[in-house]
Amino acid sequence: MSEPLTQEPSVDLELAQAHGLTPEEFEKVRTILGRTPSFTELGIFSLMWSEHCSYKSSRIHLKRFPTTGPQVLQGPGENAGAIDIGGGLAAVFKMESHNHPSYVEPYQGAATGVGGILRDIFTMGARPIASMNSLRFGSPDHPRTKYLVGGVVAGIAGYGNCIGIPTLGGEVMFHPGYDGNILVNVMNLGIAHAGRIFKGQARGPGNTVFYVGSRTGRDGIHGASLLASASFEADSESKRPTVQVGDPFAEKLLLEACLELMKTDTIIGIQDMGAAGLTSSSVEMAGRSGTGIDLDLDRVPVREERMTPYEMMLSESQERMLVVVRRGTEEKVREIFRKWDLEGVAVGEVTSTGHLHVQFKGKRVADIPVKPIAEGAPILKRPVERPAREEKDSRLDLARIKDVATPGKALKGLLGSLNLCSREWIYRQYDHMVRSNTIVRPGSDAAVIRIKGSPHALALTTDCNSRYCYLDPRAGARIAVAEASRNLACSGAVAQSLTDCLNFGNPERPEVMWQFSECVDGIAEACQSLEIPIISGNVSFYNETEGRGIFPTPTIGMVGIIEDARSAMHSYFAREGDLIVLVGTLGEELGGSEYLSQAHQLEAGAIPHLDLAREEAVQYACIDAITEGLVSSAHDCSEGGIAVALAECCFHPEAMLGAEVKLPAGKRLDALLFGESQSRILLSLQKANLPKLEKICQERDAPFSVVGAVGGNRLKISVGQDAEINATVAELRRPWSEAFPTWMV
């Protein structure tokens, strides 16, 4: 075997810049070390200070998020956040992006996205029990879109199904703005004992550092620094080697072995080797504990020959963990990993030096003070500037737009569009029932799972309307939070906390930073008002190809609790003769709507107004009504307006039920039927329960009106004296259920 060290290039500014470091950052590295870094050290710095790992552009903004509350057990800063869900249990959850890898290689990109978020959860000591996702693809007509959709869905399914963690749903939208930059945001939630949450720490000099899981290969090198932290150019295909390859079977073994290890008294700290692999796990764990770590790379299990220390430190091979265990317990650890046929090797030791020492073939290849690299990452105050185009897009002269002439046809068009049609083609490929907890399956406003051994259930949702965020980032982000919370309310759940995945363009452009800053403020405002703390999250910048950025997409993943699991609610009508009640007011806001975009190719106007006090009143009226057992269904009115919401209510998966609805005449038919005014929920309930609902709405100060009744096999919506929509449920359902499979063929 040749001597790899002699092949290492000498480090200069040019090489540092090729690693993504700026001249100032390179100078700072030299100051910290008091010398020029070795090649391996350069690799380590470039990873730790990449946008992906350091949050250098976003950090000053994220401080504005509310992150505390009585339910919060662990806020941002660890592998995932955790909340108390009663009965001595904690829900641990987080959402992450895997956008660039999924565009370059959709199956593996999406699969390893799932694998990564799962490790973030079980590294905390939680057993993952529910996955969600939020996907954005380009135009349906773009030649790459179908390939990407097929690959991403198969990748999420392939990983999640194999490891046996249900994928309970999420959201999918199409827009040409994502043609060159799709979004794959994946969320996972696990359950832990509230008193046994594990952290990524390396306390106690003398304790042993274990490498567990799969062997290290050359895959994923530069994933975090070059793939996730730079914009795409035309040569994205050439970045394929930076995408990792997932092995869900190995992860399943790792999951079970780690959970078994966590039942013993061996663990001091544990962290996933995800993005930036061995580098970030060792640096971050030592950084949090104020210690140092000695690593001996000769002991790292490798699956390829002649790997250099640089490659080992930078590899993003999947399904690996770094565990610090109490000295003297090593044999117990080895035994568990032997049982599961996994690598479990002591590769180092915690020290009091405060340095990361990396040893290879008897030579020290890296000697870096931990604190300056972990905490000294540059914090950037990037310029923020409101773009000029904003003005133009917010103008919408409705007088110049013809009102809808054939609302029935328009409704069918919306229901049969890729943005609003049934997602069954997707979620049928996800095992959404494994672990036998699923109470409300994909297709309703929120997914609901019971917690075994507890009377409660958890509701989960992901949400973001990025068109709103493009037209008005602050108000759009507020709506994303409000709507996620409303989705939970429709299942009967009180929102507890959220995780976010903030997807934006190139932060070096002031208008992107303006969008980011505004969205952060919008989220913070809504969270403060609705009392929903943020416990974890992820920022993904550089979602940009050849200077063209995506719509700002701050995806919200929210979790709520239903006190009595048996009261969990779905969104579709369930009983003939039930009354249909609108909680909230009709509203006629057409700006930024899906209808305007589809019928008039317009993405403009003022987005719907959101009054957070009203929002809260409507949501709690809905939750109270569900908790008291008054209602048969609850559905949020969102994209496509009240007409689409009513149609969806008719699509019971087993027995379609029609409805007859009368709405008062408004100024414009299209705005009335398809406008997307906020804070509206459609309930169905037995007539006998109406007085109780009325009382609840009065107490909560939520406006409400009876708009119709469930029954028959037609959906009939009259406005004033005229029947504007009158169609059989079957003919409305056909385009809705067939659109996706027909398009994918």
Binding site: G164, P248, S436
Partner: protein
């Protein structure tokens, strides 16, 4: 009654089965690690769903070599009740304890959805409490559940009454539209010659409690209890 649930590396429905047996039906139950050689005096053995060994090779092709399979085979040959659910069915077929094979679904996609099953044989420890012809609703979750066997085997299964369940419409009629994966003769579950080994693709373990909105799967577990 004591149940033993075999855990292969990659099994992922072992906890679901455990929950039903232990917490819903209040029976004694233990996990049996695939490297073990004994069945811990189990009265009934369950091979749960999942992706044993990742299913990277043909489903079940690796699992059949696990040390515990020798004991399972012996237990079955002595008439002990054995049920393989989903991946467990695939393993039993690979191990030769059940005839036929499970191949890729007709659509080539993994499918997670409810199906309807017609009970065509109650001459087994797992179906004895189900009225003949009774329609059960049960979830499936598989990519390789299309039952395949040669014509001779199929007719033998039919003649000997060894087709336990067939995919059907909600009323119990056989209809290709309601056959989710393209299984020959709409077969969802089969029995061995003696009737003590059952393999089925649908998941009774996912529908045995009211809170999940469906209790149709419970009767399979109840049937075997008290034998």
């Amino acid at each position: 009654m004591k149940f033993g649930i075999v855990v292969f590396p990659g099994s992922n429905c072992e906890h679901d089965c455990y929950h039903v047996v232990k917490h819903v039906l209040r029976q004694d139950v233990s996990f049996l690690w695939h490297k073990e050689k004994t069945l811990a005096r189990s009265d009934c053995v369950i091979l749960p769903g999942g992706f044993a060994h990742g299913d990277y090779l043909r489903c079940g092709a690796m699992a059949k070599f696990s040390p515990i399979m020798e004991s399972v085979t012996r237990f079955a040959s002595e008439g002990g009740p054995v049920v393989g659910i989903c991946n467990g069915f695939q393993i039993l077929a690979e191990a030769g304890l059940l005839p036929g094979a499970l191949i890729r679904n007709r659509t080539l996609h993994y499918l997670c959805q409810d199906v309807y099953l017609r009970t065509d044989s109650n001459a087994s420890p797992f179906t004895r409490k189900i009225p003949h012809g009774k329609v059960l609703k049960m979830p499936i979750g598989h990519g390789e559940g299309c039952y395949y066997a040669d014509a001779k085997t199929l007719s033998r299964l039919e003649v000997e009454g060894r087709i336990a369940f067939r995919y059907c419409d909600p009323k119990g009629n056989l209809d290709e539209e309601w056959n989710p994966n393209g299984s020959l003769k709409s077969i969802a579950g089969v029995l061995n010659e003696r009737g003590n080994v059952l393999g089925l693709m649908p998941h009774p373990d996912r529908c045995a409690e009211a809170i999940l909105g469906n209790e149709d799967g419970r009767v399979l577990f109840e049937s075997v209890i008290g034998l």
